[in-house]
């Protein structure tokens, strides 16, 4: 027990506690990297920091769109994989493959797919006659966001479909049969049995994905570096730049605290919903 607790304290508790502490200090090149107590000044600065709020909204938009798409696609895939068909084992294996691969390498792959000159994304769209000239995918704010969301959806939909598939398998078959006898169509039984009974799994999957997507770093770092012109700069990239490039450790700490508190709030909300749902179903 003891070694596990020590490792968890060192890697999780200390850095967060340290950020809370350092958030009250200025420690940057201006103070010659010595901590100087400044009270709540870092937090006041965050309130007026347009750049931070821009990264915040970019992150939130990315997170909400990605997770929503992943949920819809993941549910569809789970429903397909829940049926018995020849070769289901092989399709299941293929369907978890993207989840297992490193995000940084995935990002390299998608950068190549969305390459403005030689990318296959443009080639397919050109051949289908959907566009007349190649799109500079990663060079324009809107299309760069689209490309990032596509890459993230590809990589993490399997995670959601695995969780939802487990949920689908725990729904007793009798329920569907009883409902079908009463003359319900498959469409009705989906809305009245499948979806309501799947809600706990959906909330859990969304909670995990929300936390991961909100802290995402490697995908943007590799695919766009936050560009073009900061259009895909997420909170993690901004924190990284403050700590590693501007060496503004005090301010980076305050940013970490704010992000941490926002995340905790979302997690608490989700946990509350889950516990309410569990009480209802018991």
């Amino acid at each position: 027990m003891a070694p596990a607790i020590v490792v968890l304290l060192v890697v999780f508790a200390y850095p967060i506690a340290r950020s809370f502490w350092l958030g009250f200090f200025a420690q940057n090149l201006g103070t010659e990297l010595q901590p100087v107590f400044i009270g709540l000044n870092n937090y006041v600065r965050i309130l007026g920091d347009q750049h931070f709020w821009q990264t915040f909204w970019i992150t939130l938009r990315f997170t909400v769109l990605s997770v929503a798409l992943e949920l819809i696609l993941g549910l569809g895939i789970a429903l397909v994989l829940n049926r018995a068909f020849q070769g289901r084992g092989a399709v299941r294996t293929i369907a978890i493959l993207p989840w297992a691969l490193p995000t940084a390498l995935i990002a390299l792959g998608w950068t190549w797919i969305f390459n403005d000159q030689y990318g296959i994304a443009n080639d397919i769209l050109l051949r289908l006659g959907l566009i007349e000239t190649g799109i500079n995918w990663l060079g324009e704010p809107f299309t760069a966001t689209v490309a990032l969301i596509v890459a993230d959806v590809w990589k993490t939909t399997p995670f959601i479909s695995i969780l939802l598939l487990a949920g689908l398998q725990s729904i007793p078959q009798d329920l569907y049969e009883a409902y079908a006898i009463e003359g319900a169509s498959p469409w009705q039984s989906f809305w009245q049995i499948t979806l309501p009974l799947l809600i706990p799994q959906i909330v859990i999957a969304v909670l995990f994905r929300f936390a991961q997507a909100f802290g995402i770093f490697d995908l943007m770092q590799v695919m766009t570096g936050g560009g073009p012109g900061g259009a895909t700069e997420v909170v993690a990239l901004y924190i990284y730049a403050n700590a590693m490039r501007y060496l503004d450790f005090g301010y980076a700490s305050a940013l970490i605290v704010v992000t941490f508190v926002l995340l905790v709030a979302v997690i608490a909300l989700c946990s509350f919903i889950i516990s309410r749902l569990r009480k209802q179903t018991v």
Partner: protein, 297 residues
């Protein structure tokens, strides 16, 4: 929900049997969906594989050449001769395997203690553990960097092994804990009568029984460690000590205008092969681990 360990046996009983094997509109639609899933999941990977075997003229052809006109291994050869990719594979392998072993070695006793002896506040510990699994790495980076600097661990694999162990401990404790909780208490009582200490019992009796659970958590830990990016990027700056994801992301050409697409594609293929093999061999365990890890929440 807690018995997701047997999910596959449930799966076969529970799966909806498709109706008659006639070609109705519904079955056609269903098979189209299956094909779409396969293409969706495989196409981006295949495109990297194809690119990695193309000669440069094919790679830069407009309109695109889908299948290589002639197959070349030059991009792979370049990675291993002009760049230390053999070394990178060893680095990633060493860090990932060590983290996995350490994680199992300290996580297993912890999960046993939590599942059996119920120390005071074990629920609180469990809650804390769950909470920790939701942490994005960026929030820990700066604090860990300080620790790395104070203990002079920059360019030392411990700077990666310790965080990777910690990041995977929660999952290990949850998955292993649920396995221990399922084992009958009688077994341990009998062992105690025979004079086994708790530690002997854990090593000699319980661990062999929980080998499947060890494999499950070990694979998930290995995958997470192999894939990690931000700590590996920050704590390791010595070029020969880098891991595969970081080294691949930093492949550059001789000038800004000359991006070496072929070697990059080859690097992504090399970096994903070990994981593809793991998924092919242990698909079932991965699914079990993920579902029981997440659903325990």
């Amino acid at each position: 929900m807690s018995t997701s360990l047997n999910s596959d046996s449930i799966a076969t009983d529970n799966a909806v049997k498709p109706g008659k094997r006639s070609l109705t509109f519904g079955t056609i639609l269903f098979w189209l969906a299956v094909v779409a899933i396969v293409i969706f999941c495989l196409a981006p990977i295949l495109w990297q594989v194809l690119t990695s075997f193309k000669v440069n003229e094919d790679i830069a052809a407009i309109p695109n050449i889908y299948f290589p006109t002639r197959i070349t291994f030059d991009h792979y050869i370049e990675l291993f001769t002009r760049r230390p990719f053999g070394r990178y594979i060893l680095n990633s392998g060493f860090v990932s395997i060590t983290s996995t072993l350490v994680c199992l070695a300290i996580g297993t006793p912890a999960s046993y203690a939590l599942a059996r002896s119920r120390p005071r506040g074990s629920n609180l510990i469990r809650l804390g553990i769950l909470f920790v699994t939701l942490f994005p790495s960026i929030l820990l980076l700066q604090g860990l960097l300080e620790i790395v600097q104070v203990f002079n661990l920059g360019n030392n694999y411990l700077a990666l092994i310790i965080p990777y162990t910690a990041m995977n401990l929660p999952l290990t404790i949850l998955v292993m804990g649920s396995f221990f909780a399922q084992l009958p208490q009688d077994l341990e009582d009998a062992a105690r009568v025979d004079g086994f200490s708790t530690w002997q019992m854990l090593v000699q009796i319980l661990t062999p029984l929980t080998l499947p659970a060890l494999v499950t958590t070990g694979i998930l830990t290995f995958i997470a460690a192999w894939n990690e990016f931000i700590f590996a990027l920050t704590f390791i700056t010595d070029d020969t000590m880098k891991t595969i994801p970081v080294a691949s992301a930093q492949i550059g050409g001789s000038s800004v205008f000359e991006v070496p697409y072929g070697p990059i594609a080859a690097a992504t293929v090399i970096g994903t092969i070990p994981l593809v093999i793991l998924v092919l061999l242990f698909q079932k365990q991965i699914v079990q681990g993920l579902t029981s890890g997440a659903v325990k929440g």
